[in-house]
């Protein structure tokens, strides 16, 4: 599903964010991308959604080389990749329903489809009873569930989560990852970038560990491994 070949990203001032990264992630996998702050996790995600270009190396998503993707096709790439962020990125003046519906509206889905699918997905993430609430009426964990619902509503084959538990109460973090696991079980490839040791250790999934932009470990059923 995702192939990286000798990918290097150098930011201005000769800062190596990623160095010589080569990896394969198969369809339907669940992967933790771990490492301390500044190890290159966020750059990894930005490269996948083509928010940044690699300095060198090739990235393939579903057998498409996204380096060569034309600019106008980038939106169609992003429809294949749902994204969840630490800061949720919800619109404060829209309700839970409207926030999720927004992802369908801007990709031109019909009103009928929206009315039908948004409540379904919100029920899946456990917020079927809060359709009309506004984000600031929700806990961090609930807001992140809304964000996950929005990322998943268009059924992307890939779901990226950048520190999804970062702004969520520690006791609720596990529930968020549990939800991502549920989404993974529908066949979606899920990549979770995190430095939350407890969660990584609890789920025992494939772990790709980054340090200073290099892969230092790639292990099935792995643990966080840093101190």
């Amino acid at each position: 599903m995702i192939r990286m070949r000798r990918v290097t990203k150098i930011y201005k001032g000769n800062v190596y964010a990623l160095e010589d990264v080569t990896l394969d992630i198969e369809k339907g996998e669940f992967v933790f991308l771990v490492g301390p702050s500044g190890s290159g996790k966020t750059t990894f995600i930005k490269l996948l959604i083509k928010e940044e270009e690699p300095t060198s190396g090739q990235i393939y998503i579903a057998d498409t080389n996204i380096n060569q993707l034309r600019k106008w096709k980038v939106p169609y790439l992003r429809r294949k990749i749902g994204c969840v962020f630490q800061d949720f990125k919800l619109l404060p003046h829209k309700t839970v329903f409207q926030n999720v519906a927004y992802a369908m509206e801007v990709t031109g889905k019909s009103r009928r489809l929206i009315e039908q699918q948004v409540p379904e997905v919100l029920k899946l993430v456990g917020l079927g009873h809060k359709l009309d609430a506004f984000p600031d009426e929700l806990s961090g964990g609930e807001q992140q569930r809304v964000a996950i619902a929005r990322a998943f509503i268009n059924r992307p084959p890939i779901l990226l989560a950048d520190e999804p538990t970062g702004n969520v109460d520690p006791s609720l973090g596990e529930g968020i990852v549990r939800l991502l696991e549920k989404i993974n079980s529908t066949g979606t490839t899920v990549i979770v970038a995190t430095h939350d040791k407890n969660i990584v250790d609890a789920f025992r999934k494939r772990v790709i560990a980054l340090e200073n932009g290099r892969i230092i470990r790639d292990q099935d059923r792995g643990v966080y491994g840093y101190e």
Binding site: P75, Y76, R79, K89, E105, V106, G108, R111
Partner: protein
Amino acid sequence: MNRVKYFAAETWASLRKNIILAVAAIAVVAVSLGILGLVVMGWNMFTNMIKNAERKVGEVDLYLTDLTTTEELKAIEAFLASIPEVDAATIYFKSKDEALQEFKERFKDQPELWEYIDENPLPNSYELMTKDPKDVGVVVNRIKNDAPHPERIEDIKSASSAIEKLENIFDKFRQIGIVAVVALAVIAILLVSVTIQVAIFARRREIGIMKLVGATNWFIRWPFVIEGVFEGTVGSLVAILVVLSVKVWILDRLVESLQFLRLSFSAGLLAVLVPCILLGGVVIGALGSAYALGRFLEV
């Protein structure tokens, strides 16, 4: 249909949010296009006045007595053609009959002026144009001093210098008008682009999320383009309203009360002017939003 509704709602919400700037942009669009309309109308009125004037700028008319023989006419015509300042191709002999026809045509609404004439009182004449309007005086002097058979020349008339001066003034008026219109149009474009920039800034969160969930670039851009074009169009509608009222309430009355000046508007002037103003508004709005989108919306 869904999309049209979505874009309309987005545009309306955005306009309401920064209503003061939008009104300012609309006002400047209206002023620039309004001035354009007034300049064009004024110019048209004036050109028609010159066109309708008895004598054009640079024209010299030479009236001859009825006693002039054909040989004498030929001699005079040859002399006129030999004057270096005269454009020989414009020398035209107007017979008594033709002059009377013209007179009847011009005063066809006042038949009492010519109905009872049994003998044509109008003279034969030569009309000619100088190569350069400012040489009219020179030409008139040459004819007075050197023409053969001076006893046959009854009168020499040239366009009044007042019209010439007027033409100079109106030329300046037109130049200043064009400069003002261009300057105001540029300001209008910038102001529209400022409102769009503010709108983009106000919606930067939405734009970020739209990109994230894969909205196409044009889907993101459209509401802003529509907002700019809407402002331009409303501005041009205001300008059209102003131009039409000025015409109906002021200029038409002027034309009527100053009939001796022979002011008039060309037929179909408004049919051209009104769509042009509308188009101008759309273009100003589109350029304004294009500028803002190009600079401030990286999609």
